[in-house]
């Protein structure tokens, strides 16, 4: 056991020496690897943030039913009863006109406008949460409710959140595909580095095999080298993502305020960052295993 640990320690220190022996080439390779890993991961973080924002706003179809001005509480009760009797309506929330005015006053600049008016211009309304997303049924419901007495206007306004969600789903798929592509690219970068290193040391490898080295012994330092490269590439990628999100967060925040909302790029949780580093190291190790196996299988000793 002690010898086994010593062998792994020696393989790790050999891998570190190989990294340090060619500092510029190693740094360049790690940086390229970091870039390849940062692009899909960064896109994924951005998409997740936009998704989080979209989730704050209901994407289920929401229909507003505005009543005529001057309706009585009895009229409201009749409309509520009819609405709740509809099969597609899950919930009907009544918003009195005073409540609506109070809410509107909180929007910048609108309080003065409301104060300038002789009376509250807003009607009583119901906000309906529907149990269907089928546009034709929503249209049918809108038409039916719009024809009822004491109902002034019916408005379905969930379209934009649905569009955002659809966009997020597309972006997630793109991020996944890019992740796969760049993952393969990262694999190829490490594979090539290890392949060249093994070619450079083929004399030593051949000699070691002649005097009794197992494939595992030969492979071990290269596996550590690949894993280390992957890990350091992951660290560079996390650094790029953190710097990128910090820069983007400010710009996006200014942009979203202009639209009366708040979009924030979510901070990368440390568990995600650790998982990402683990996956990068694993990718590097896999590439090294492939490269070393190819080298050893292509040169059988007998």
């Amino acid at each position: 056991m002690k010898n086994w640990i010593t062998a792994h320690g020696a393989a790790l220190s050999s891998a570190l020496r190989r990294l340090v022996r060619r500092p510029f080439a190693s740094l360049f390779e790690i940086f390229v690897l970091g870039l390849a890993l940062a692009l899909p991961a960064g896109l994924y973080v951005t998409v997740e943030s936009v998704r989080g924002f979209a989730n704050q706003h209901p994407s289920d179809p929401e229909v507003s039913v505005f009543l005529s001005l001057g309706v009585t509480s009895q009229d409201v009760a009749i409309v509520r009863e009819r609405l709740e009797a509809l099969a597609d309506v899950q919930q009907a929330v009544f918003i009195p006109r005073q409540e609506a005015a109070k809410s509107l006053r909180q929007s910048p600049g609108l309080a003065e406008v409301l104060d300038a008016l002789p009376e509250n211009p807003l009607p009583d309304a119901f906000v309906l949460r529907l149990g269907t997303q089928d546009p034709s049924r929503i249209d049918a419901l809108r038409g039916e409710v719009g024809g009822w007495p004491k109902v002034a206007l019916v408005q379905a306004d969930s379209g934009w959140t649905r569009k955002v969600n659809a966009g997020v789903r597309i972006a997630q798929t793109v991020a996944l595909l890019l992740g796969l592509m760049f993952g393969v690219a990262a694999l190829a970068i490490t594979f090539n580095t290890i392949r060249l290193q093994m070619l450079d040391r083929r004399g030593e490898i051949e000699l070691s095999r002649l005097i009794g080295a197992t494939d595992g012994y030969i492979r071990r330092p290269y596996l550590y080298l690949g894993g280390l490269q992957g890990l350091l590439g992951g660290v560079v990628a996390v650094a790029i993502i953190l710097a990128g999100t910090r820069a983007l967060d400010k710009a996006l925040s200014d942009f979203s305020v202009a639209y009366g909302t708040q979009v924030k790029i979510s901070a990368v949780p440390w568990e995600y960052a650790a998982g990402f580093l683990g996956v990068s190291a694993l990718l590097g190790g896999m590439a090294a295993w492939l490269a070393s196996s190819r080298h050893l299988w292509a040169r059988p000793l007998r």
Partner: protein, 241 residues
């Protein structure tokens, strides 16, 4: 380390059957692609603790014979048996462990020129996972045997041809192998060095190591007084005791 018995030392033909065979070839052929036949119907037996020289002109098949013994090459026909193992039947993953029983001395030395003398000699010990505490002591003992003690930090490029050859020998003996296989170990050396190297091999044999050496150096053969297998055109012409 194998202790050499007087019976082995005497090399008496009558007692050979009672001895344990270290290396056995049975009707071995070796053909290379392109129809080149390196060995033809070779049968031989080398006992534990023997000192054997394979002699013959260049191209006679000496290196091929050694490569087959070291399991570096496969025979095209026949059986090669080393230390009780039939090499053809050996699984690929067992090969490295068999090879650790050999000490290989190459004609071209195969030294690692980016490592110092110590690291070159320590390589077989590290491969065989010897403990870190054991390695310096064994390396120094091997270097002492070949007269390179005190040169541990020297890079191989700074050594003369003879010293490089002795370094190669130190690497071959450091893990105390059961069999020492040497391919033209004196090939590039001047006669004085050649005799020194021959004496080294004799000393290893005297402590029980089976030594098989390929050479066409007459002076070395005269010095060692070994059993000689004479090869020509891939066939054993004669075996002398």
């Amino acid at each position: 380390m194998i202790e050499r018995s007087p019976a082995i030392a005497s090399n008496e033909t009558g007692s050979r059957a009672a001895l344990e065979a270290m290396i056995r070839f049975e009707n071995v052929d070796k053909r290379y692609p392109g129809g080149i036949t390196a060995l033809q119907n070779v049968s031989l037996r080398i006992d534990k603790g023997e000192l054997v020289v394979i002699a013959g002109p260049s191209g006679a098949g000496k290196s091929t014979l050694l490569n087959l013994m070291a399991a570096i090459e496969h025979p095209s026909a026949g059986r090669v048996c080393v230390n009780g193992e039939v090499l053809q039947d050996l699984r690929a993953r067992s090969l490295p462990y068999l090879r650790r029983q050999f000490g290989l001395v190459f004609q071209d030395h195969r030294l690692l020129f980016d490592r110092n003398v110590f690291d070159n000699v320590a390589l077989p010990l590290r491969i065989a996972l010897f403990s870190r505490g054991d390695i310096p002591q064994r390396v120094r003992a091997a270097l002492d045997k070949v007269g390179l003690l005190g040169r541990e930090r020297t890079m191989p490029i700074a050594l003369s041809g003879g010293e490089q050859q002795r370094l190669c020998i130190a690497r071959a003996i450091v893990h105390r192998p059961a069999i020492l296989l040497a391919d033209e170990p004196t090939g590039n050396l001047d006669p004085d060095y050649a005799v020194t190297i021959a004496d080294l091999f004799k000393s290893f044999n005297q402590v029980g190591v089976t030594v098989v050496m390929a050479t066409h150096d007459r002076a070395v053969i005269d010095r060692l007084q070994p059993r000689v297998l004479r090869l020509r055109d891939g066939q054993i012409l004669e075996q002398s005791a």
